[in-house]
Symmetry: C2
Subunit: 796 residues, 2 copies
């Protein structure tokens, strides 16, 4: 195998503690020269020399360290209050161990035999594993404290050795994961650990937690690290795992990264040791998370017919998908001879096979695909173009003119429109001609039709592009085109036209002010004239993406929060659409991607002034109130935006994920739109998300505002909530109709809402309707984004 | 009645449109000189001249305006998309009305007859009511748009007239209240409306919505404004009200103020026209909201035995409580002769009666009470003292020495301790003597006991206070006290002592580093010596308060978010504790106020060095994980903090709301602690709030970090969720125990969690245990506050 190319998936070999302990100790009495490689250095060199592996993944510490820590910290736990102190006395604690522990707490440090790596050179290709037996989320505060101290000691040593990536122990206890998270956040913000080390949290892929002992006081032998699937035939659930519910693994990760403020040095080692979940959609959420490593033990492989190690279908599918993010695969137990064929190399070779059959990875490597075209733009937020305000550069035009699909569609639309006109003479106007791609296509369509005479007018407001148009008119179009310089909302044409062609659409349809421009241009369209495009719609979907959240937050040094007050254009990669197909638990939710609003051209009902221009722009305001069903718990970071446009006849353009392949496959011109959120919004499984989006207009500008509220369906049933209120009218005040005994139907309540009625006073108690039905309670909201158009589209 | 004093409750008289239309129109043909008062001016003058009222509350517009707006905007609704345009054509719309509407949209303005007030002088004492028929939250976007335009027109006119307070129409439609909120926020951020006008949103007191017609198309006669209780004997619920549930009124307010970013110019007119809720706790939440006006129509009064208008008990209780915030009472329908006695003045006189019997208001007006002492500190956040780092000023000592309760309690504790020692000689040390209040009280206790010899040592690190101590020693204590200058952690005493007295407690107990100081001082305490205090505990409760949220956010010009990274000391007033008594829906929640941790002195199990000082400060770290039950929906803005301290015997100090009256009533020295949140956290009714609080220590400092997660109980029942996963071991890989058929107990799921299992692959389907039980799902979280001790207590 040749040296892997830059886009190849890096593979690391995990060398477990058992293999290291089999080595002669670095401190052995066997004579070595100071410059001789250590046994571990030799092992690492040999591993890398095979060219199968780019990295080696080692535990940082030896069992000796665990022995000392356990003796100090479990026999003399840090007292948390006077009661534990009393216990200590009652048990007759060992003063000497206590003193040793306190001295360690004051000056935490290793002995030479307690660490695996002792030399700088060994760390060149090293991924260091922190002691997996540390219980940063132990229910016992003393053990948490001493675990955190030990963690800091290990990371301080890793920092000293310049280890670039460390793997942290997996969080195990949902109830105390906030303690784990707080400890990690403290390290991320502590400059004494440098500012480069990646902290990779080991997260089991399935929500079922494996426990094979390892209780806080017993401190099991770190089986989690040693691939528990091998040694623990029974899956035993801790009570905490039950409490956390199905989503506990992801939920624990979410707490950690939220508490750590989405620190970009925090990532996931997705541990495929536990059973792989088959539930539909269960793995989707991981694509929106920073998975930098995949931990893949030999035990997760199954033998194929010939005995070679392979992975099950669902597992393959997931890994091929996730390979587009180029994670490091950490292979483990390759030496354990678990499979009859393939040997220890079989696992790495299988990863290379997956890599070659990964569709997204191969698409990125293939010239001419959207993935290849967009590969450098993946998850990079860009400010949308404002072509009405800014005159574009020639190079910008050039990029868009390269789109192989968009202009073909335009040509087809013009062709069909001309065919439909039959023997009539036709006047065409291209409004916003740019460097001429639409003129060129219209010209071709005219030639294909071979019909009666067609006149072409073209309007362009960019004086620089007009030079190109003049050139092309002379060289390509035989001066058949009459060019007009100016804004389509003020320029005058010699006659009314039959077909008005424009390409003013943005990623969200109307965001480059196509409605405003075409309203101003429709005055030179004949009464039965047509606009290409004739109709377009804007669509949104709720999106999760740690990557995009970080991109928006950290893109400039300015006010972080202001970065979230404007929409962006972005090629989505590490993202996950949170909504499911329609209905939801209560019914009534919309589909996965929903339409916000539409615009039609020409707009016949427009009220216009003497020049044919709209009186005001109020008719282009829009608002949308959409309800999404969120089947799996997740974190909302923003809204994905898309458009569909109908050009003419059966010709459309679309970047809508569900229709783009059918309507305009491989079109490159538009990346999706992205409305970011200032603060992430947590959504539990089966939540309903109400999204409010407004298109606002004033005399000078156009802008969007957005806002969301989250709800959770709850059953409306027993205990029947009732409630009472004073009805003063029933006490006989003059001139007031009596109503005290009128049965009153209250709002439909749910047991999640306030219960316990009060029986006092003039109260009417009311029984409850609708038992057994589902109601919903509000659970959260975002702030209003971009109020008043801090970020807006100017040029009206 | 004399002119009301500054603390008196202002009363406004509401003059409804019906009374105004009875006036001769300002534009009537009756001859008037330009300087003559208008009929409205005369009415206002007469009303204020009665001295009953400080303000007059008037509608800003006349029915003529409503007529024109309705004609324009309901007959020619602003089209939202092409379909409405087609409808318009189909209906044969009136081009003239359409043109009028479009011209109005371009240049919104009033005719003279459409407004009630035309002169600047009329606005002196005026509260202006915006047209209540405007439907800013109509389900129809065109009506919303034109309502917003009309609202802006009315507020622009109010701005022109310099009206300082306007009352906005009540939100009516939960589904579209975000539209209402967005419109108000745009006005608050638009400098063309000035920067002083208060926008008061009319919110009905009870969650039952009154609908008496007023559908969007029908536009009822604004009965909401005219006190619907009078005219609508039947309470009719709109479907939206049902949807929103019991809490819809407050929930709509919450959406509005959140969307408006807690703008301080936004407040509530609490409308007492609807039935008054009796549900326990239903009114508590309003004490945490900016209620600046109470709308109280005569219809809400009941007649007493003599026929005078009075209010029902629950109503009285609420109003007496809310009076401490000095809201303006707006009385309405006082002329309608609804009661047999008292006349039109009877209502205002009853408000004055309530005022005189309002316990919190009278307490604020009575010299010597805590309320009077604290009246200028209410809801003002202050940085806690750091007496270990800073030397206090003499005036600061003086304030605390004025406490009538605290030092009496200390004297009693010393007295009891001396009595308990019987005939033994005693050595007392006052550690941190300040200006001597504890010495003084110890001296008195010694004299009361009249026992054997007592030696008094006193340690003080503030060299300036030491001068005062020397003076008092000479003048008051007959030089009986031996004074030592220095830090109690380093000073040396000539002998060990029997009683160590200190007053190092902060509002949260340990926050002024009492544990660290006393750990350093306990080395000169005899083995059987006692510390006064001997024990103290810190307590928290979840708190809601718009006022405190705004205080913290806007207290400095610096980074708003950083203000929320430090705890404060604050006298709570406009606050509401969100937690209920223990248990909760699922059981297992703690009480309303919960203990975080405790400290005991002396700490006998401390591991100390040769000098008797602790080896490290790790034993003073603490962490708390508390679960609160939140019975009613609300918004969490922070945590209230309190302490209790046991001095000696049966003598304690407490600012815990449930024990302070019993343990140390009227103690002034400590206001509660407040841990703010950067961003408010919405909590639905019956939520569970998990609060994490840490007391962190390093060698140089001590600090707190805090974090919270919210959960909602959901029933764990049908449809039974099951799930499957691949168990590759079951396929016969060598050396792997078979486990495919092992029954596996999954985490206990709920119907709110992911359902729909997948049946494919090597999957084990598992039935669900615990049906009918309650589980909980996470619904939200805060960020981690003060990580790494950005704000800390320094001086170790």
């Amino acid at each position: 195998m040749s040296y892997p190319d830059l886009l190849s998936i890096p593979i690391a070999l995990h060398i477990p503690a058992s293999e290291l302990t089999a080595l002669p100790p670095a401190s052995s009495s066997e004579p070595r020269e100071p410059d001789d490689p250590t046994p571990i250095q030799e092992l690492v060199s040999a591993t890398l020399a095979s060219r199968l592996y780019t990295y080696v993944c080692l535990p940082l510490t030896t069992p000796k360290w665990k022995d000392r820590w356990s003796r100090m910290c479990l026999q003399s736990p840090l007292g948390a209050g006077p009661s534990s102190g009393e216990d200590g006395q009652a048990l007759g604690r060992d003063e000497q161990v206590e003193k040793e522990a306190e001295e360690w707490r004051l000056h935490p440090k290793f002995e030479r035999e307690e660490v695996t790596v002792t030399r700088l050179e060994e760390t060149y290709s090293l991924i260091g594993m922190v002691s997996a037996w540390l219980e940063l989320d132990s229910p016992e505060s003393g053990i948490r404290y001493d675990s955190e101290l030990a963690l800091r000691q290990e990371l301080a040593y890793a920092t000293y050795l310049d280890v670039r990536t460390v793997v942290l122990p997996p969080p195990r206890n949902r109830a105390n994961v906030a303690d784990y998270a707080r400890a990690i956040n403290a390290i991320l913000n502590d400059s004494s650990f440098g500012s480069y080390m990646q902290l990779a949290v080991r997260i089991p892929v399935s929500e079922v937690e494996h426990r094979t002992g390892g209780s806080p006081s017993g401190l099991g032998p770190g089986k989690m690290l040693e691939s528990p699937g091998m040694k623990s035939p029974q899956i035993v659930l801790s009570p905490e795992a039950e409490e956390g519910g199905l989503d506990s693994a992801w939920e624990m990760w979410d707490v950690i990264r939220t508490v750590c403020g989405y620190n970009s040095r925090l990532s996931i080692v997705l541990d495929l040791s536990p059973p792989f979940p088959l539930r539909p959609g269960a793995m989707d959420r991981w694509s929106a998370e920073p998975i930098r490593h995949i931990f893949l033990p030999a035990t997760s492989f199954i033998p194929n017919a010939k005995g070679y190690p392979v992975l099950a279908k669902a597992n393959q599918t997931f890994l091929k998908e996730v390979m587009q993010f180029l994670p490091i695969f950490i292979l483990s137990k390759t030496q354990a001879s678990l499979h009859n064929a393939g040997g220890s190399k079989g696992y790495a070779e299988y990863v290379r096979f997956l890599e070659k059959t990964s569709v997204p990875l191969q698409a990125m490597r293939t010239e001419g695909t959207l993935e290849s075209f967009a590969s450098t733009y993946m998850d990079r937020v860009q400010a949308p173009l404002q072509p009405l305000m800014d005159n574009l550069q020639s190079s910008t035009y050039a990029i868009f003119e390269r789109d192989p699909v968009k202009y073909e569609r335009y040509e087809e639309a013009v062709y069909q429109a001309l065919l439909a006109r039959g023997e009539q003479e036709t006047v065409i106007c291209v409004a916003g001609a740019g460097r001429g791609p639409l003129i060129s296509r219209a010209y071709k369509a005219i030639q294909r039709v071979e019909g009666p005479k067609v006149t072409i007018y073209a309007i362009e407001k960019n004086p620089n592009a007009l030079v190109t148009l003049q050139e092309r008119n002379a060289l390509e179009w035989g001066n058949a085109v009459t060019l007009f310089f100016g804004d389509m909302r003020s320029v005058e044409l010699p006659e009314k036209v039959d077909i008005l062609i424009s390409e003013l659409l943005g990623s969200f349809g109307d965001n480059e002010l196509s409605p405003e421009c075409l309203d101003g241009a429709q005055r030179f369209l004949k009464d039965d004239g047509i606009s290409i495009p004739s109709f377009y719609t804007a669509h949104v979907a709720p999106l999760s993406s740690s990557k995009l959240y970080n991109e928006v937050l950290h893109q400039t040094i300015g006010d972080e929060k202001k970065n979230a007050e404007t929409p962006y254009v972005v090629m989505f990669q590490a993202t996950n659409v949170l909504s499911g197909e329609g209905g939801g638990v209560r019914g009534g939710c919309g589909t996965k991607v929903q339409e916000c609003w539409s615009f039609e051209h020409p707009r016949r009902d427009l009220f216009v002034d003497a020049r044919g221009l709209p009186f005001s722009n109020t008719h282009n305001t829009r608002s949308a109130h959409l309800t999404f069903h969120v089947p799996h718990s997740g974190v909302l970071h923003g809204l994905a935006g898309y458009f569909e446009a109908h050009l003419y006849g059966d010709v459309s353009l679309s970047i809508h994920p569900e229709t783009k392949a059918q309507k305009s496959n491989n079109m490159l011109s538009w990346f999706p739109f992205y409305f970011p959120l200032k603060d992430p919004l947590y959504l539990p499984a089966n939540a309903e998300l109400d999204v409010h989006l407004w298109r606002m207009t004033s005399r000078q500008k156009v802008w969007y505002e957005w806002y969301a509220e989250s709800f959770l369906p709850v059953p409306a049933q027993s205990p029947p909530p009732t409630f009472g209120f004073i009805t003063p009218q029933s006490t006989g005040a003059p001139n007031t109709p009596r109503q005290g005994s009128t049965p009153v139907r209250p709002p439909r309540p749910s047991p999640m809402l306030d219960a316990s009625p009060s029986a006092e006073g003039h109260a009417a108690f009311v029984d409850v309707l609708g038992r057994g039905e589902l109601s919903r309670v509000k659970i959260g909201q975002t702030s209003l984004h971009n109020p008043g158009g801090r970020s807006s589209w100017i040029g009206l």
